[in-house]
Amino acid sequence: MTFSVRTVPAPTAPAEPACDVTTRLGPVTLPNPVLTASGCAAAGRELDQFFDVTQLGAVVTKSIQLAARSGRPTPRMAETPSGMLNSIGLQGPGIDDFLAKDLSWLRERGARTVVSIAGSSVEDYATLARRLRRADGVTAIEVNISCPNVADRGLVFACDPVAAGDVVAAVRHETDAAVPVFAKLSPDVTDIVAVARACVEAGADGLSMINTLLGMALDLDTMRPVLAGVTGGLSGPAIRPVAVRCIWQVHAALPDVPIIGMGGVRSGLDALEMVLAGASAVSVGTAVFNDPGAPPRVLHELVVALAERGFDRLSDAVGFAHRGPA
């Protein structure tokens, strides 16, 4: 609560929704639009100590790969003005451990789960999707395409509409039609609408945006990069204007494609900004590090903010800023 937020209503349990906050993400309807962000909530268990994770629209898991990964050396983070850099390097268990320990816990707990997957080849992603098809408790798949493509000299999939489309098509092909596939886009591209379009044409049910911006910081004592990984991903309130712009542009170009918005959301008003720009759901990432109670607080504040503005339904607010008040 001492976090920098634009409004701070009493941090109580979500109020009786004054408006219908269910939200449709392609074939799936969530009870509300507030999710965690991949890599900022592990697989939900730690946050469940602070609030009931089944209260959220869904838990989005840390991106899972085929095999266990140790990630990058430390230091893995640097604080920056209103933001942070991270270079975790996707440390995590492989898909087997994830299914056995994390997904099963989430399912038993009764949480909805968006499984984020990451790979270094189209085949990796396809295999992960195949494994998930046989698993219970997958509400949606978020395809983290901000990974280097080993087949293309390490060029990040998300930076190339063709490669991005290939990954999405492979995942869509392996996934049950009832499970929506969301492609997670990187803002570090010249034309995000082109990548968005390629993903949708390849079968993505929706788009998640934005992933972190590539950034870096130097340690002025050692005079070397702070991060062992040299560059890292910039997240937090600092990037929110970029996230809102990306959501706005893509919603303008593809108004029927559901968007999960993220990037610097700390408060219900920040979430509302993304909804008005075109997001059907909102993920809370870095804000969790400052306030483990942020996701339910954001939901509560969003509900209040929608009601104050006379919205009976969240869906009426999605993309409202493109249309303007009547």
């Binding site: 609560m1 001492t2 976090f3 920098s4 937020v5 701070v8 890599g39 900022c40 909530a41 592990a42 730690e46 946050l47 100590q49 602070f50 840390k62 095999a67 266990a68 990964r69 140790s70 990630g71 990058r72 050396p73 430390t74 230091p75 893995r76 983070m77 604080e79 003005p81 209103s82 933001g83 942070m84 991270n86 975790i88 440390q91 995590g92 492989g94 062992a228 937090g236 309130p237 870095t286 804000a287 969790v288 590090f289 400052n290 306030d291 483990p292 109670g293």
Partner: protein, 286 residues
């Protein structure tokens, strides 16, 4: 401090008092509930900077003392160095400033199964959590000795408390401004020998912990070391705070020091490889 490890709380804390102790600051925070659960070696994570701050991450501090009773319904005390933006902000705050507190966090120091002779080694503000530990150990009938070190006498924390509680109290400073000139490990072997130490507890900079581990190892005794790694969340969700630790199965993993630590057995931590991913670690790049 209570014995049960329970889930951490998030509470709206408030500054009750703050004053300087040598180069450090001693902060008493009203944080109802946190105190009741805290065990020695655990830490709290504070959101610093106020409503319009550009600081987005919490700061971790070892719990120095708690009081569970009194008019304030539970206080938590920390000893901190005002170095960067967050701690400098904290140092400017006066009574009544609100500070969001998450804690207690992490795995505490484990008491020995049996009555034992324990040597407590602290470096700089790292000695802060050792006094509550000493109390707990003494309550269990353990002998407690202290080795406290710092760069200079103003960075030596708790020497008086140590003298009150410890059988032996050895003090070192890098510049010789208090106690013996040198490092804690220069005097630790002598203390271990005089005290018949069964277990070492240590908190301080990484380099100190590593050196203490080596000494304890050479005597064949365990060292419980509370490490300090950069933490973004403090609650186990971000994976920034990892270091290479050998498990019971002999396999090295990059483990989160905020939830699997901060207290580790010294001989399990691969001190020489901290800051790297050892090639034999689980999931290391091939």
């Amino acid at each position: 401090m209570s014995e049960a490890t329970a889930r951490p709380l998030q509470v709206r804390g408030e500054v009750l008092s703050t004053h300087r102790v040598g180069a450090y600051h001693h902060l008493v925070l009203v944080a109802p509930g946190v105190a009741d659960q805290a065990r020695p070696g655990q830490f709290v994570a504070l959101a610093l900077g106020g409503p319009d701050t550009n600081l987005v991450l919490r700061r971790a501090f070892s719990i120095y003392r708690v009081s569970t009773r009194g008019v304030y319904g539970g206080t938590v005390e920390i000893i901190y160095a005002a170095r960067g933006a967050g701690t400098q902000w904290l140092a400017r705050q006066v009574q009544h400033t609100r500070v969001d507190v998450v804690g207690p966090l992490g795995r505490p120091f484990a008491p020995p199964r049996d009555v034992a002779s324990a040597t407590l080694v602290g470096g700089g503000y790292g000695s802060a959590p050792l006094f509550a530990l000493a109390e707990m150990l003494q309550a269990r009938g353990c002998r407690v000795d202290f080795v406290l070190g710092a760069a200079s006498s103003d960075r030596l924390f708790g020497a008086l408390d140590a003298k009150r509680m410890g059988s032996i109290v050895a003090v070192t400073t890098d510049d010789g401004s208090a106690g013996t000139r040198g490092r804690v490990t220069d005097v630790l072997p002598a203390v271990i020998e005089r005290a018949g130490t069964d277990v070492v507890y240590a908190c301080g900079p990484m380099a100190m912990l590593r050196a203490v581990s080596v000494v304890a190892d050479s005597y064949g005794i365990p060292a419980q070391c509370a490490v300090e790694e950069s933490m973004a969340c403090g609650i186990g969700v971000c994976m920034t705070c990892v270091l290479p630790v050998r498990g019971d199965d002999g396999i090295t993993r990059m483990v989160r020091s905020c939830v699997e630590g901060p207290v580790f057995l010294g001989d399990r931590v691969r001190w020489d490889d901290v800051g790297t991913v050892p090639a034999d670690a689980l999931g290391a790049p091939r």
